[in-house]
């Protein structure tokens, strides 16, 4: 009982902090924090499943989040007909060849007897496959990227509603997680951490460089919102302006708040659904088995549980949730900017949320998501204010004062690190501990 009261108190405190931002600066900022807080909470739920339920160390969250973003582009952007005509099928064929080569190589490895012949055959297959792939792929990519490079230069998407992109983004992440998990968990010892660290960098490299698919660093902007209205449409709608003016609001501010509220309700619905599902799962026989494996793998294995299989399952599930959150985030931003994906922000910050919130506790992850995101946003102005205070006694224009004021922005990472260290040291089970 005290446990619940404590948790409720924590949530109340965090939302009071966010509300305070609303009162002191603006509700636009506060709602912005809530929206990204909701998305962060979902990412934290995904990581918590892997680390909290199963002790899997995923340091490639960034990659799965980015794949979700890719899903949003592929699903919702309108297709570029000309690009499809010049090279679309050829690219697909090239990818099919690549996939076929890899599958054939794996099959060949399994079928042939070990020995030098097997190695040579496999090498030959891979080399031939690679050159065939490049032969098909390179001209097609060149053709696609030549189609109006300033505006498109890529294949575009399927032109479907963006809400559909959320599960598809999750599925893309799940697919990548399957490949990673199958390889890394299948090795004789577990090498998941380095594998996820690597795959995340590779996914970002792909997004940055495969312009035919994502426009690379030229970014995809203007991703359709579908159910959520555009601010400009609201401002142009006489009914909306009239109503808001009647209630005493500025229509421009109101339009952006309404849009944010729409997103907030969509995201809340997703979060609640996921939270309900993961709580149910945790208390089901499946969840009990997961905990049994986590607490004593040897015993669980002796009882005939397929430990690697279960680990793979939960790794895919957690990564899919990260992908889903990634697709939601890209929808919220309305753009995919591969250059902005950085491990500190998209992998390690999520870890801070999980640890601070409480490993193994879904409610803790949600709390951690909101709290840490709030701090991430607010530490910058606080840092600036702090530096202002510190430097107030210094002479204007002194080099140290300028440097301190300029560097205030970097207080953010330092603070996140300190918070993580303090929580680990003094409250190692997090703010809402696992029971």
């Amino acid at each position: 009982m005290t446990h619940q009261i404590r948790a409720i108190g924590m949530f109340a405190a965090v939302f009071a902090l966010i509300a305070l931002t609303g009162f002191t600066s603006s509700w636009n900022v506060a709602l912005g924090i809530i929206n990204m807080g909701l998305i962060s909470a979902i990412m934290a739920l995904g990581v918590n499943m892997q680390w909290g339920y199963a002790g899997l160390f995923n340091v490639g969250v960034m990659g799965f989040v980015a794949l979700g973003g890719l899903g949003a582009v592929i699903v919702s952007m309108p297709p570029v007909g000309e690009a499809w005509a010049t090279g679309g099928l050829r690219v697909l064929l090239a990818l099919a060849v690549a996939l076929g080569t890899i599958v054939a190589a794996i099959k060949l490895w399994g079928r042939m007897a070990p020995g030098r012949a097997r190695g040579l055959a496999m090498l030959a297959l891979l080399v031939v496959g690679f050159f065939l792939f490049r032969f098909l792929f390179d001209p097609a990519v060149e053709a696609i990227e030549a189609v109006n490079p300033a505006a498109t230069g890529y294949l575009g998407g399927l032109g479907l509603p963006v809400l559909l992109a959320w599960p598809i983004g999750g599925a893309l992440a799940a697919g990548a997680a399957w490949i990673v998990g199958k390889t890394a968990l299948g090795l004789r010892s577990d090498y998941l951490a380095i594998a996820t660290l690597g795959i995340a960098e590779i996914i970002i490299a792909v997004l940055k460089n495969e312009d035919w698919m994502t426009r690379g660093v030229k970014n995809v902007i203007g991703i359709p919102r579908s159910p959520v209205p555009y601010e400009i449409d609201l401002q142009n709608s006489p009914g909306f302006v009239e109503k808001m003016t009647a209630w005493g609001f500025d229509p421009v501010t109101a339009s952006s708040i309404v849009v944010k509220l729409c997103y907030a309700s969509l995201f809340t619905a997703v979060l609640l659904l996921l939270l309900w599902a993961s709580q149910m799962a945790l208390n089901s026989p499946w969840g009990r088995m997961m905990r049994a494996i986590r607490d004593n793998e040897v015993a669980a294995e002796a009882m005939g549980k397929d430990v690697t299989g279960r680990h793979l399952q939960i790794f895919i599930l957690g990564s899919a949730i990260c992908g889903l959150a990634g697709a939601m985030m890209t929808t919220l931003d309305g753009q995919l900017t591969p250059g902005t994906y950085q491990p500190l922000r998209f992998t390690f910050l999520i870890w801070v949320m999980v640890i601070v919130g409480g490993s193994g506790n879904n409610w803790g992850s949600v709390l951690g998501g909101f709290l840490i995101w709030f701090l991430w946003v607010e530490v910058e102005p606080i840092g600036l204010w702090l530096m202002d205070v510190i430097t107030s006694g210094m002479a204007d224009g002194s080099a140290l004062k300028t440097h301190l004021l300029e560097s205030a922005a970097h207080m953010r990472l330092l603070t996140m690190g300190l918070i993580l260290l303090l929580v680990l040291r003094f409250s190692p089970r997090g703010l809402i501990p696992e029971r």
Binding site: W51, G52, A54, G55, L56, F57, S189, D190, Y191, L192, A193, I194, A195, I293, R294, D295, N296, E297, S359, G360, P428, R429
Partner: protein
């Protein structure tokens, strides 16, 4: 779930981020303690009425006493799980005692760390992982003499004299040696400090009977050189034969204490512990 949140690894076995080698299970006495002059008359080495266990777990030792006189051999025997090895570890300071004391040569050393006890002239050969497998035989011996500042070469020569095979294998990694040879390295490493007391935890575990006889001979040789020996043994009968003093432990407490010969002759001990 463990009580200590920092020890909960959630079953993580990721080799790419954590070293899988087993952690140290010892809870050595903390730094800072000093040896104090002991009152009254007591044996050369005594673990007196020791009570304690690992961490916050249940007590393994209950008012347990083991002692040995200078230059003699004392042997601790008893059934599995009787706390024989724990008693040794407690005497060596690898375990925090809840009550009781350890005294050596007229000094109370209960508060000393294992390193400080090494400096006081105690040496301990654990039952398992008792050599540095990746170090050469000679490096193992050098590590044994880590605290010594004087010339250790004469002592190395003495160890090679006692165990001639080690001289031939001096440049080989200890991990590549056979079980019996490893035990010799382990005993050799402990002798490098020129200890007053040598503590052996089941030195003959897992070696063939011929090697076992050989090892017992060497141990007697060491004792004749004036080194006091405290030893835990599985092969109770053979060990008691060479023992000046024998302790039979049951559930962390003293069950029988007498000279080795007397224990061997005691029908009760014979029936319950020596198999008739």
């Amino acid at each position: 779930m463990t009580k200590n949140a920092w020890q909960d690894d959630r079953g993580n076995k990721d080799r790419s981020i954590t070293n899988p080698k087993p952690p140290s299970d010892a809870e050595p006495v903390r730094k800072g303690g000093k040896a104090v002059k002991a009152e009254g008359d007591s044996p050369f080495l005594i673990g007196d009425r020791m009570t304690g266990g690992y961490g916050t777990g249940a007590n393994i030792l209950n008012d347990c006493t083991v002692a040995v006189e200078k230059g003699e051999i004392a042997v601790i025997v008893g059934p599995n799980g009787a706390g024989k090895s724990t008693a040794m570890k407690a005497v060596f300071g690898m375990l925090n005692l809840k009550s009781g004391s350890v005294r050596l040569d007229g000094e109370d050393i209960t508060a000393l760390t294992p390193q400080d006890r090494v400096a006081k002239g105690m040496a301990f050969v654990p039952q398992t992982s008792n050599v540095f497998v990746s170090l050469t035989v000679e490096e193992n011996l050098e590590m044994g003499a880590f605290l010594r500042k004087d010339d250790i070469r004469p002592t190395i020569a003495q160890v090679y004299e006692l165990f001639p095979i080690l001289k031939d294998k001096r440049r080989q990694a200890a991990g590549e040696l056979s079980g019996g040879q490893r035990q010799q390295v382990a005993v050799g490493r402990a002798l490098m400090t020129q200890p007053k007391v040598l503590m052996l935890d089941e030195p003959t575990a897992g070696v063939s009977p011929i090697v076992m006889d050989e090892l017992f001979d060497r141990i007697i040789e060491v004792a004749r050189a004036g080194i006091t020996i405290l030893m835990v043994e599985q092969n109770a009968r053979q060990a008691l034969e060479i023992a000046d003093k024998g302790y039979v432990l049951v559930q962390g407490a003293n069950a029988y204490t007498d000279t080795g010969k007397a224990l061997l002759a005691d029908p009760e001990v014979r029936r319950t512990f020596l198999g008739g």
